[in-house]
Symmetry: C2
Subunit: 231 residues, 2 copies
């Protein structure tokens, strides 16, 4: 499809691996905070909630950053994963829709110990515009394109009501934002090359309900049984 420019080492980290790298990174940062210098795949996997074979396979896609017989140097691995994820640079984030959720995200300080900067808050409600949220002035959504340009926004977070989400997404994309995190309960239509990730509370609850029902009609009392097994 696109021409492949010459690159060091063949890329192509599996999506499933990419999705776990942030989990490993957080576990490593926790170890680092405790002053741990070195960790085995077994221990890191356990901290990340995966099995060690999967962890080693995942890390092998980044390179050979461990030492046989020893393990992985925590600080070095933190750096390598951060670099791979693109966290050694700073990404400007704009949040559109400053309701309860938008405010919660704006105030959520620690984005995995840096890599992101909330650069702008946008809302369609004139009463909201001008208010200060998390030390930022809320700007009117009409200024989206201008803000994206001036703040070099590359990630757009959509926390608008469902009806407004597609319109905002299209404007983000046309303004040059190719990464979107969508909290609105709609399927966004975007052109190829734009990356949309979706976070949806109802969907998560419904998936939980499915399994809960299974437990409930599968055996007598699922929840209590699980409780008893608690170690």
């Amino acid at each position: 499809m696109t021409s492949r420019p010459p690159r060091p080492r063949e890329r192509g980290i599996p999506e499933a691996t990419v999705a776990r790298l942030p989990v490993y990174l957080r576990a490593l940062q926790t170890l680092q905070d405790r002053g741990t210098l070195t960790v085995s795949s077994e221990d890191l996997a356990s901290a990340a909630g995966v099995n060690s074979a999967k962890l080693r396979k995942d890390l092998s896609h980044l390179g050979s950053y461990g030492t046989r017989g020893v393990g992985y140097e925590v600080e070095y691995l933190v750096y390598q994963i951060s670099r791979e994820l693109g966290l050694t640079q700073d990404w400007a984030v704009a949040i559109a829709g400053i309701g309860n959720l938008g405010r919660a995200l704006a105030n959520y300080g620690g984005f995995g110990t840096r890599g992101f900067r909330i650069a702008a808050l946008l809302d369609a409600d004139p009463a909201m515009v001008g208010q200060s949220v998390a030390s930022l002035d809320v700007r009117h959504i009409d200024n989206l394109e201008e803000v994206v340009r001036s703040e070099r926004v590359s990630i757009g977070v959509i926390t608008t009501p469902a009806v407004s989400a597609q319109g905002v997404a299209t404007r983000f994309v046309e303004a040059g934002v190719a990464s979107i995190l969508n909290f609105a309960p709609v399927v966004l239509n975007v052109p190829d090359g734009v990356d949309v990730r979706k976070v949806d509370l109802s969907i998560e609850l419904q998936i939980l309900a499915f399994h809960a029902q299974r437990r409930a009609d599968g055996d007598g009392r699922g929840a209590e049984r699980a409780g008893l097994e608690l170690t």
Copy 2:
């Protein structure tokens, strides 16, 4: 592992399918609101953002609810998927941690047009306790076990700070809650049989950053290129 009780039709809906059923359900409800009576796999798939082969395959795991040459009756399929997901009953949900995010969730009304009921809000901060949020009195976290029992809570939502999350999870599980939705940035340790789902803003942003970086160093200017391709 567990004894299999006699059941109609062999169950075992793939996890990937379960995760998509809520998406189909929402698309169907939108169609229903517009008064659409019947829909083809092609159209429903398009509304849900998947391809039609996948949709048909997914639905085939529930049964044969379509009519060849015609499509699916919207209302009937809404009912079948709702039933499969366990939404024909009401699930009581407790939210632990009434910060910005907890409040946002408590105030988030439409949980996919019913199936869930926010039954309790819990917080460890005495200043928070007794306040009214979304028409519910915030109760002290010490009452967790009592509240789970009296309200028959089966789903626990954790929006506490990271340090408190594991403790709250353990208490939920011991109280009989076997379904947990975790917004805290930690890996929860729970016994087998307990279902934990995780929603994590930083992880989503980091995955977006990975792809954004790819675009950025893959070709000249990824975002603008994507913008130009917009139809």
